[in-house]
């Protein structure tokens, strides 16, 4: 298994993402993001656009053709950067066990 595994050393990238969720990002942060974004589609976060250019509902893909993404209750965003940071925190917690504030 040579896929990149997020470790304590990547903690230094968190602030970069928090301050600039939409990039561009440093190579170190990009490596962390690729590990997050390249995961299989089952359970992968995505956004459902509920009002064009204004509002997005966070959802998780099923990874099964024809089975629609499942909305994450209460996670509605009016700012794409805020959505990115929210998902980064969720993934960080899921992949490292650590909760980011």
């Amino acid at each position: 298994m040579t896929a990149y595994r997020i470790s304590e050393a990547d903690r230094a990238c968190v602030d970069e993402f928090r301050q600039n969720p939409l990039g561009p990002h440093s190579p170190d942060l990009l490596r962390v993001l690729n590990a997050m974004r390249g995961a299989p589609n089952a359970g992968k976060y995505c956004l459902i656009c509920t009002e064009p250019f204004r509002r997005w509902q966070l959802a998780r893909m099923t990874g099964v053709r024809g089975l629609p993404p499942e909305p994450v209750e209460g996670e509605i965003f009016e700012d794409l950067a805020a959505a990115e940071w929210a998902v980064f925190r969720r993934r960080w917690q899921e992949m490292t066990g650590e909760t980011l504030n």
């Binding site: 990039g23 190579p27 390249g38 995505c46 956004l47 656009c49 893909m61 024809g66 993404p69 794409l80």
Partner: protein
């Protein structure tokens, strides 16, 4: 969720011609329809906003909604014939290469009345192997080989019903066997019931259904199905499975033998038997597929058609949705050319759809000196692309969360709406065929694509309305013509125009389309190539069936699936497929540049190069300062240089006198060199490091007094409207367009 969707029978229409619209309304009892001219389909509030112009038409009014289903899945059907019923003894067989046995029971051959269950159906089951289902109207019985079938290996299957002996025999014989798996197997058991043959015709790769044209679709390849009204011995069965003509001594016993290697470009399966029971292929399965006899000595089906006797059927193939027409519009004389839509909306305004089409001038005429060649073949290539939910890489490529629109969610749920040339079928094989005879929900105004970068997110069709909006804002009269018109009419379509403008992403071209553009440029034509990744893939249009294209993703190039070795030649045309670059016609030879990099996060800008100060380019940069960043703004990724970039390259045929006017910079490491640009992987393929990751603005004159201007970026047109259309991208585009409209011939430089 969408409740109102539609499509049209043609993609372009001229005065005096009629376009028919087909609508499905899911729980919408009544809807209103009107015709609009589409000016700007981008609803981004940061830009000029959504714009249409009303069109008075006789279709305007209220229509009753009705649900119209789509039945995907390809198969072969043979109409009933006296020799197809009243069988006593029968032997039938074929070669199969199953691809999706996990999906459950699938039908190979069926002669069965779905109402009564009378008849026989030969099916496959992953564990039970070959299964014969028999029905006499009262009872249904099954006989199974009970030997596991292997996926993606050839197996010869046959069944023999011997009424006199009261026996049924099933045989499942791998063409290539392996230890432990894939061993030959057969059963020979008493006939559980004497099936009647219903006289409902015959189906291959699906079974007739009560409430649909077909059901129990087979995924995989089938080769050479045949039927004999006799009990045949194993040696005769084996001989009928071999490629080539029908053996003369067996001919009297054979009812039909369908040789899929005959007339591969067509939609019929030719019967070599005495009754001419040719099959109709429904929903365009993939032909020119390697059969069991393929050895590798031939790579082209045209050289050894007998090696390509297989058809790959898919349960999610779709050619023509086949909906009934709800309303038609006969275009009145003198109608203005443009991009038009039939706008349908529910009475309460909650649901709507826009069905786009081109209103073109009558053939052989022009109503403006400028034509936009709408890249409708490329729209078809991306039609109903599912990569936002099916592809694992979408979020990495975009550098942000995948945003799903209502249309994306609809086609995810409704797989029967068909696939794009970027999708894979449910069995994992690549989609080589795409049609426009179905609602295409990503070819819509207001649609934003996952591929379209931050900002407006436009891609293909809707992105091209940035150009129509700019032409209207700047007061230029223009005609709209389409790829399909170019395929039909060739150079004659382009001939009347002083200037031809491309769309933002004219990626897919047939040989005839390519030749037509070459002819235009050789005869003083002026081309403004306002996009990138153009003239990239070769396609073929179908010989007989309208509105459908095929691609064979041979060799390399940016692609989401690969054609299998030995399957690089189009079934539709017999031509070798792949990148025009690999066919010896790089786009550089036509338009001075070619695809070099792609990235879907944000866009860069251009800086001027010495070429821009050459007196030959003086008209282009009139009013542009020497240190101006060009296009450091825009609705597509925030800059004019983005999504996909083209680069000038003399080694690939960029004419030596081409002026490279400016090059782009400011790209992130998500903007990556395309794979045909490197033979060895290196760690510097991203936009912050690799010198070839940039787009070029190019200009060159042709020997006939014409000229080409290319922008080298898909994002260019997204910057045209910035600051009330008063910006340097708009200025450069207008400078070029005005000079190209001037009849004064261009003169190439001399030593």
């Amino acid at each position: 969720m969408l409740k109102l969707v539609g499509y049209s029978d043609v993609i372009s229409v001229a005065s005096g011609q009629t376009i028919a619209f087909k609508v499905s309304a899911d729980g919408v009892p009544q809807y209103r329809a009107s015709i609009v001219r589409l000016i700007h389909g981008d609803a981004n509030p940061a830009g000029p906003g959504f714009k249409t112009a009303p069109v008075v038409s006789d279709i305007e009014g209220s229509y009753p909604g009705r649900f119209q289903p789509i039945r995907a899945g390809s198969y072969m059907v043979v109409d009933d014939h006296p020799v197809l019923s009243g069988w006593q003894d029968v032997t039938l067989g074929c070669l199969i290469w199953p691809t999706r046995l996990d999906a459950g029971r699938q039908t190979l051959v069926a002669a069965r009345d779905p109402q009564t269950g009378v008849g026989v159906a030969l099916e496959v089951d992953k564990e039970a192997g070959l299964v014969l289902v028999l029905g006499d109207g009262e009872r249904v019985a099954e006989v199974a080989v009970r030997r596991r079938l292997e996926t993606r290996y050839w197996t010869a299957v046959s069944v023999t019903i011997d009424r006199a002996a009261g026996r049924v025999r099933l045989s499942q014989r791998p063409v290539q066997g392996f230890p432990l798996v894939g061993q030959p197997a057969e059963v020979d058991v008493p006939l559980p019931l004497a099936p009647a043959i219903p006289g409902t015709g015959l189906m291959v790769a699906a079974a007739p259904a009560v409430d649909a044209p077909a059901t129990r679709h087979f995924d995989g390849k089938i080769e050479r199905p045949w039927i004999a009204r006799h009990v045949l011995d194993p040696a005769a069965i084996d001989r009928l499975s071999q490629p080539g003509p029908l053996p003369a001594d067996l001919a009297p016993q054979v009812v039909a033998l369908w040789d899929f290697s005959r007339d591969i470009p067509g939609t019929r399966a030719l019967d070599l038997g005495p009754h001419g029971l040719h099959g109709r292929l429904v929903n365009m399965p993939t032909r020119a597929m390697k059969g069991a006899a393929w050895t590798g000595e031939a790579q082209a089906w045209t050289d050894r058609p007998e090696h390509y006797g297989a058809i790959h059927f898919h349960s999610d193939d779709l050619y023509d949705a086949g909906w009934e027409t709800d309303f038609s519009w006969t275009v009145p004389a003198g109608a203005r050319s443009g991009i038009y839509c039939a706008h349908i909306r529910s009475e309460d305004g909650v649901y709507e759809d826009y069905i786009p089409f081109a209103l073109r001038p009558p053939a052989g005429t022009a109503t403006a000196p400028i034509a936009i060649l709408l890249p409708t073949a490329s729209y078809m290539a991306y039609a109903n692309d599912h990569n936002s939910v099916d592809g694992q890489d979408a979020e990495m490529l975009m550098g942000r969360l995948v945003p799903l629109q209502a249309g994306d969610l609809f086609i995810d749920r409704h797989r029967e709406y068909g696939l794009a040339l970027y999708d894979s079928h449910a069995d994992g094989s690549g989609v080589a065929i795409s049609s426009r005879l179905r609602p295409i929900l990503n070819m819509r105004p207001k649609y934003a694509s996952w591929l379209g970068a931050m900002g407006s997110g436009l891609w293909q069709f809707n992105a091209d309305t940035h150009l129509t909006d700019w032409l209207e804002a700047r007061g230029f009269a223009y005609d709209v013509i389409t790829d399909e018109d170019l395929e039909r009419e060739g150079y004659g379509l382009l001939k009347p125009y002083q200037v031809v403008l491309t769309g933002t992403h004219p990626e897919y071209h047939s040989t005839r389309m390519w030749d037509a553009m070459r002819a235009y440029l050789e005869r003083s034509g002026r081309l403004m190539y306002l996009g990138a990744d153009g003239w990239y893939w070769r396609i073929a249009w179908h010989r007989d069936a309208p509105g459908v294209i095929e691609v064979r993703r041979a060799e390399d190039g940016i692609r989401t699936w690969e054609a299998h070795p030995g399957e690089y030649y189009h079934a539709f045309s017999g031509e070798y497929g792949g990148l025009w670059r690999r066919l010896g016609r790089p786009p550089n030879t036509l338009v001075g540049q070619g695809f070099t990099a792609q990235g879907f996060d944000r866009s860069g800008y251009y800086v001027r190069l010495p070429g821009s100060y050459d007196p030959r380019a003086g008209f282009i940069f009139d009013g542009i300062g020497p240190d101006e960043r060009i296009g450091d703004f825009g609705l597509v990724g925030g800059g004019a240089a983005g999504l996909e970039l083209d680069r000038a390259e003399t080694l690939l045929g960029t004419p030596p006198h081409t002026l490279v006017l400016a090059s782009s910079e400011g790209h992130t490491d998500l903007m990556l060199l395309v794979n045909e640009e490197f033979a060895v992987t290196t760690p510097n393929l991203g936009g912050s490091q690799h010198p070839k990751v940039h787009g070029d603005l190019v200009f060159f004159e042709t020997a006939s007094g014409g000229a080409v201007f290319g922008v080298g970026s898909i994002a260019w047109c997204g910057s045209l409207s910035h600051d009330g259309y008063a910006n340097n991208v708009s200025r450069i585009t207008e400078n070029v367009l005005r000079r190209f409209l001037d009849l004064e011939p261009f003169v190439p430089p001399v030593d």
